[in-house]
Amino acid sequence: MNDLTYLFIAFAVMWTGILGYLIRLAGLRRQLEERIDRFEERIIVRDLEDA
């Protein structure tokens, strides 16, 4: 491997890592939104039952 290959691999690994971490955060955000949606459904069902 020449110098530029090592440089490219280092560069690619780093930015892929940062992208991967951002994807992980997006995944956690989606899980949170799904939980909030389920709460909203439960609240709606409870309100309907109360009515």
């Binding site: 491997m1 090592y6 440089l7 280092a10 690994v13 780093m14 940062i18 971490y21 909030i36 409870r46």
Partner: protein
């Protein structure tokens, strides 16, 4: 979640990253003996600076948690630890990629490399601890562990002068850094510090929101019973 800092900080960070890339690839002079592979240095050292800053944030928030017992400090500590481990991983990957063509080996058990690997294990251990012990007990155990783990940060920094290895001492050691390399290095360090702040901020926002949802879940169950 739509506070000004959540918009302004990522925008400034993006500009700083673009400036850092331009600095490392266009502005910085090519090192005479190592050639282009030396440009890894601008990301390698900046990642180390971001990792150290993140672990300092873990230390401060862990002390604050022990003193104030507020969940937000535990959330800051775990968010910063995650980001610190991410940047330490970059240090441990970019280092060998730079070492192989320059030293002829991927890894040597040099004091700087060994203590950095220990640092990675310590904070990965901290994250495992926080995942395995939930609630207040886990937060308190994590805070104590984080304070003890931080001892390795100055050890990593001073390892080059404490025990003579083959890792060069760039800062404060008369490392013979070309004056043309200083501005791109500074830009890169600032960009990575900003990037770590953005990632910690994003992770913290999520952790705080998760706590709020947990509290709502408990309240909802109380109402339903």
């Amino acid at each position: 979640m739509n506070r000004k800092i959540d918009i302004i900080l990522p925008a400034i960070t993006l500009l700083a990253i673009l400036a850092a890339l331009a600095g490392a690839f266009l502005l910085a002079p090519t090192e005479k003996t190592m050639g282009d592979v030396q440009r890894i240095f601008y990301f390698h050292l900046a990642s180390a600076a971001a990792a150290f800053a993140s672990f300092t944030c873990v230390l401060i928030s862990s002390i604050a948690f022990i003193l104030r017992r507020e969940t937000v400090w535990d959330n800051i500590a775990t968010s910063a630890a995650e980001v610190g481990v991410l940047f330490t991983t970059f240090v441990l990957i970019t280092g060998p990629l730079w070492a192989r063509p320059v030293w002829g080996q991927w890894w040597v058990w040099d004091p700087r490399l060994t203590t950095t690997l220990i640092l990675w294990f310590l904070y990965t251990g901290y994250l495992v601890l926080r995942q395995t012990i939930p609630g207040y007990r886990g937060a308190m155990a994590g805070a104590v562990f984080a304070i003890l783990a931080y001892v390795d940060v100055p050890v990593v920094y001073f390892s080059v002068s404490l025990w003579r290895g083959i890792h060069p001492q760039v800062l404060g050691g008369g490392g013979g850094l070309d004056p043309g390399m200083v501005p791109p290095l500074l830009i890169s360090v600032i960009a990575f510090l900003l990037l770590s702040a953005v990632l910690i901020q994003e992770r913290l926002n999520l952790a705080n929101a998760m706590d709020r949802v947990d509290r709502i879940a408990v309240a909802l169950e109380d109402v339903e019973q």
